[in-house]
């Protein structure tokens, strides 16, 4: 009895499922690097581009950047197909 399998090879541009997981971990590690001391100290200067202290700009800018990275992984990867589940209608097949 074969269960219904979703066609995972829909679009060639998609990343493999396991790739998404790894990218998430990479994003996490990126976040750690961005917001923990080493890099943090670098940007803690007295510069004030556009009148706004560099540290503030850096913190918020890096934050937004990280969010966009996560969004990119979430929206652009194959794992959009898996996990599409929940109390939906039963699968067809056999």
């Amino acid at each position: 009895m074969a269960g219904a399998r979703r066609d995972d090879s829909a679009s060639g541009r998609r990343l493999p499922a396991s790739g998404a997981r790894e990218r998430y971990v990479a994003a996490f590690l990126l976040g750690l690097v961005l917001f923990f001391p080493p890099l943090l100290v670098v940007f803690d200067t007295t510069a004030r581009p556009a009148g706004i202290p560099l540290l503030f700009l850096y913190l918020y800018g890096a934050w937004l950047g990280l969010i966009l990275v996560i969004a990119w992984i979430a929206l652009g990867s194959l794992h959009r197909e898996e996990g599409e589940d929940g109390p939906g209608p039963p699968e067809s097949g056999a």
Partner: protein
């Protein structure tokens, strides 16, 4: 501003929220719609932002600059991993029907109530400051709204409680919490209405804060550049452009880490992110939507804080209230009201917290305790929902009042953020058990218990108690100098670890102790069978649930035919399983290969079949696992059955032993029976022999007496009587001789004298010895002997005895006159002697008994032929002793009898030795 106005607006707003919740509950049954969408989900997670975010961040920023930020960076970092971590938690919770974090941890470790109770207790104590924080914020901002600028330094907890706004705020919020969360008991603990309301309030607080921030930045100042320019000229503010001292980095890191965990471990977060989750896919969307929300709501924190410092520094307004005080300072009452409502929204996050907490307390602490009290006889009540609801409502009220009490106790000694961090640190104690439980199969219940208890103890000692000490409820020296003056045990500098902020310090020690105990104890203890199953179900949930039929199989909650067949096949073999299913199909007229769903009867049949192999209890577990859509890998089950199989092997050994015992007993009984029979036979034998001896003796005596008493008897008569006496004496002698022979043969005392003879001669001698008998009866004796002599070493007398006996028998039964007896000897392979007669033959029934003592054919008293009945027994003994066999050849009735005995061609065994007697 008018108290009544503020109060009325607040009440209207709360009612609006309640209306939304009501609408949300009505709509919860329907598929689709906003409530089921990812945006509502992400917004509901934003319940993370409470009065702490709305007011406290600004207050903290005004004092310490960017150090309000880690609390939001942490969740962002964790959100990157949500697809891995949170999704796993969601999947596990759906499958195991988990309704709270206490439930989750308890379920992972074998569904033990003690663990769940501990989590609920820790949550209760740990969240009291958090709830207090919300109440304080509401009451402070309420007084600010009403009394600005007089009461703006935010004293709380003065005067009697019935005149304290915080108290009334507590009561109102308790009422709304009860209304939101305890209208009914739902097995899944879904509160879609509450989720809708929360999403709404998240939106409100975001919009209002952005509005306030925008107005303050662009109206009070000319934009951020202008604001920061002005700040740069302010001595203290200019310093806040930087991180601060290097020691603060530790604090920064600690806060980031603790908030990473809090976003999962806070009861309200668990409730909205895991329990209320409707689709797993939403987790992926929330992973970036939620951090985006955090980003947006934090955008204007620094500007507002700096603006507040710049404009209100000297007015005595508490920085926690800058968001409100700034519009009020310009008499922008509309904006102030809007901001106040935003803050109120943020505070209503507490409603979710208390509902989640009350659910946990009810389910995992109170109910198990009540069920233990047998005199309540709770298990006999059919409907416990009213009791459950009552417990929950009481818990909500109790928790909120505890929060109020905490405010009264600690007063102004803590800023809002400080209180929040105390709670964060408490719920961080769940992190090892929570995260370890879903990634590490080896984590045991004792480990979780040890870790959480130890961590909680350290937290209470290093963070909770000192807050009470600060407020004067515990002697201050306790904090400054340590208990009993032991400096090493100072709550804020344990074992000399100085220089850390209290929260960081507490975090370091509690996590060290927690993780250490968790890992160490887990490695040292064993899991029982249930915990092992649960561990596998949790850690391997993705592997187990992504079965051959896709993930949605999980949600169906019933058994498929394929599942059952698979299960059956593994336990009772392919053939039997197939046969059972075929038969079932025939009987019910269904084609099971086409059916997907198994009906109850099939399930029941499978259970019965399995019970035959693994016992009813295990069968039920296996089938119910399949039937509920939960998948236990059969390998796991086999591993668990390992435990049981040792017991089974032992009991099998016992069974084998007892079977041996039974067999031995049976043998003994048989032997006993045999002995008894032999005993009886011996008695019979003695009885018969004495009878046989007595009969001739009686005759002899009678006739001798007659002769003695009658001397004048005629000579013919006398001769006749004497003849009888002689023959009877002979008979007696014969019998006695035979008995003696038999006795000697059986006891092995018989002496044998083997010598070399010619067999043909022996046979001829025997026939001559019995010749008279043949003549008397007129029976012809024929000899069929080989031509030449047959040399043979044997005991001549005994052999003669056998042949004579056989010949006498033959003569006895051969018909008179026409009788013919043949004596035949062949000596090819063996020596074979046959004695054949043409008498009536031997009935088949008698053949087995022929060679038994005192058996004679026609063994009825009236029909007794002359003879002792011992002859054949003796023949048999002799022949067997000589190494041969004797038997009767079966002949059709009426065609006479043929007795045959054989002797081995080599010499007979040496004489004199005892041959073991057969039966």
């Amino acid at each position: 501003m008018n108290t009544a106005l503020v109060a009325a607006v607040s009440l209207v707003y709360l009612l609006a929220m309640f209306a939304i919740a009501f609408w949300g509950d009505r709509r919860s049954g329907r598929e689709g719609g906003i409530i089921q969408g990812p945006y509502v989900y992400a917004l509901s997670i934003a319940v993370y932002c409470t009065s702490w975010t709305f007011y406290g961040s600004v207050g903290l920023a005004a004092e310490q600059g960017v150090h309000y930020l880690p609390i939001y960076l942490g969740p962002t970092l964790m959100a990157a991993l949500w697809w891995i971590v949170l999704r796993k938690m969601v999947r596990i919770s759906k499958i195991n029907r988990i309704t709270s974090i206490a439930d989750f941890i308890a379920s992972r470790h074998g569904k033990r109530p003690l663990l769940g109770g501990l989590v609920a207790a820790i949550a209760l104590v740990g969240l009291v400051p958090y709830i207090a924080l919300q109440l304080k914020a509401v009451s402070i901002t309420f007084s600010v709204m009403v009394d600005y600028p007089v009461a703006a330094d935010a004293l709380v907890g003065n005067g009697a409680f019935y005149s304290d706004e915080a108290f009334y705020a507590a009561l109102i919020l308790a009422a709304f919490a009860i209304l939101f969360g305890t209208r009914h008991v739902d097995a899944s603990e879904h509160h879609s209405g509450m989720v809708a309301a929360i999403a709404f309030e998240s939106l409100v607080k975001l919009v209002t804060f952005l509005l306030a921030g925008a107005v303050i930045t662009f109206v009070l100042f000319s934009g951020p550049a202008d604001l920061f320019d002005r700040a740069a000229d302010h001595e203290r503010l200019a310093q806040l452009f930087h991180m601060g001292s290097p020691g603060d980095y530790g604090h920064w890191i600690a806060l980031t880490l603790v908030s990473m965990v809090a976003i999962l471990a806070l009861p309200r977060q668990f409730q909205v992110a895991v329990v209320e989750n409707v689709r797993e896919g939403h987790v992926r969307d929330a992973a970036w939507l939620f951090p985006l929300y955090l980003f947006a709501i934090n955008l204007f924190v620094l500007p507002i804080a700096f603006a507040g410092v710049l404009l209100l520094e000297d007015s005595g307004v508490h920085p926690d209230t800058y968001v409100l005080a700034l519009p009020l300072s310009r008499d922008w009452t509309a904006l102030a009201l809007v901001v106040f409502l935003g803050g109120l929204s943020a505070a209503t996050a507490m409603i979710v917290e208390t509902v989640a907490l009350a659910t946990m307390l009810g389910n995992d602490l109170v109910m198990p305790a009540l069920l233990r009290l047998r005199w309540l006889r709770l298990d006999q009540r059919t409907d416990l929902t009213r009791l459950v609801l009552r417990i929950r409502r009481t818990a909500i009220l109790g928790v909120i009042l505890l929060g109020y009490a905490y405010i009264r106790a600690t007063g102004d000694t803590l800023a809002l953020v400080g209180m929040g961090l105390v709670s964060f640190c408490a719920v961080a104690q769940f992190a090892p058990a929570l995260l370890g439980g879903i990634f590490w199969k080896g984590a045991t219940r004792q480990g979780a218990l040890a870790g959480m208890a130890a961590g909680f103890a350290v937290w209470a000692y290093t963070l909770f108690l000192p807050t009470l000490a600060h407020a004067g409820w515990v002697p201050g020296a306790f904090v400054l100098d340590g208990p009993f003056g032991l400096a090493l045990l100072r709550p804020h500098a344990l074992f000399g670890l100085e220089g850390l902020a209290p929260v960081t310090h507490a975090l370091v020690w509690s996590m060290l102790v927690n993780l250490g105990a968790y890992v160490t104890v887990s490695l040292l203890t064993q899991q029982d069978a249930i915990e092992r199953i649960q561990a596998s179900l949790f850690v391997d949930v993705f592997r187990l649930s992504a079965g051959r039929y896709g993930i949605s199989r999980f949600w169906r909650g019933s058994a498929t035919v394929e599942d059952l067949f698979d299960l059956l096949r593994r336990f009772i073999g392919e053939t039997r399983a197939r046969r059972a299913f075929d038969e079932y199909g025939r009987r019910h007229g269904v084609d099971l290969s086409r059916t997907r769903q198994a009906d109850a009867e099939l399930v029941h049949l499978c259970e019965r079949l399995l019970a035959g192999s693994v016992g009813t209890a295990s069968a039920r577990v296996l089938v119910s696992n399949v039937a509920q859509g939960e998948v236990v890998s059969l390998d796991e089950v086999m591993e668990i059955l390992d435990e049981a199989s040792q017991v089974i092997a032992y009991s099998q050994k016992l069974e084998a032993k007892s079977r041996e015992l039974e067999a031995a007993t049976r043998e003994l009984r048989a032997a006993n029976a045999q002995l008894q029979q032999l005993d009886r036979m011996k008695d019979d034998f003695i009885a018969t022999v004495t009878h046989e001896l007595r009969t001739p003796l009686t005759s002899i005596r009678s006739f001798t007496e007659i002769l003695h008493d009658n001397p004048e008897l005629e000579p013919e008569r006398r001769q006749a009587f004497l003849g009888i006496i002689i023959s009877e004496s002979e008979r007696l002698t014969r019998l006695i001789n035979q008995v003696l022979d038999l006795a000697k043969l059986e006891s092995g005392a018989m002496r044998w004298y083997p010598e070399s003879w010619d067999l043909t001669r022996i046979l001829r001698d025997a026939s001559e010895a019995t010749g008279q008998l043949f003549e008397n009866k007129g029976v012809r004796l024929e000899l069929e002997l080989p031509d030449g002599p047959v040399p043979y070493t044997t005991d001549r007398d005994r052999l003669m005895q056998v042949i004579i006996n056989l010949l006498s028998n033959a003569v006895k039964f051969a018909p008179e006159g026409t009788g013919r007896v043949t004596l035949r000897l062949t000596a090819e392979a063996d020596v074979r002697v046959e004695v054949e007669d043409n008498g009536p033959g031997i009935p088949e029934a008698e053949i087995p008994h022929l060679f038994q003592k005192f058996r004679q054919v026609g063994d009825v008293l009236t029909d007794r032929p002359p003879g002792t009945g011992l002859g054949l027994v003796i023949c048999r003994r002799i022949v067997e002793h000589l190494g041969g066999r004797i038997w009767v050849d079966p002949r059709p009735p009426g065609e006479g009898a043929r007795f045959v005995f054989t002797l081995p061609r080599e010499a007979s065994p040496a004489g004199g030795e005892a041959v073991p007697e057969g039966g």
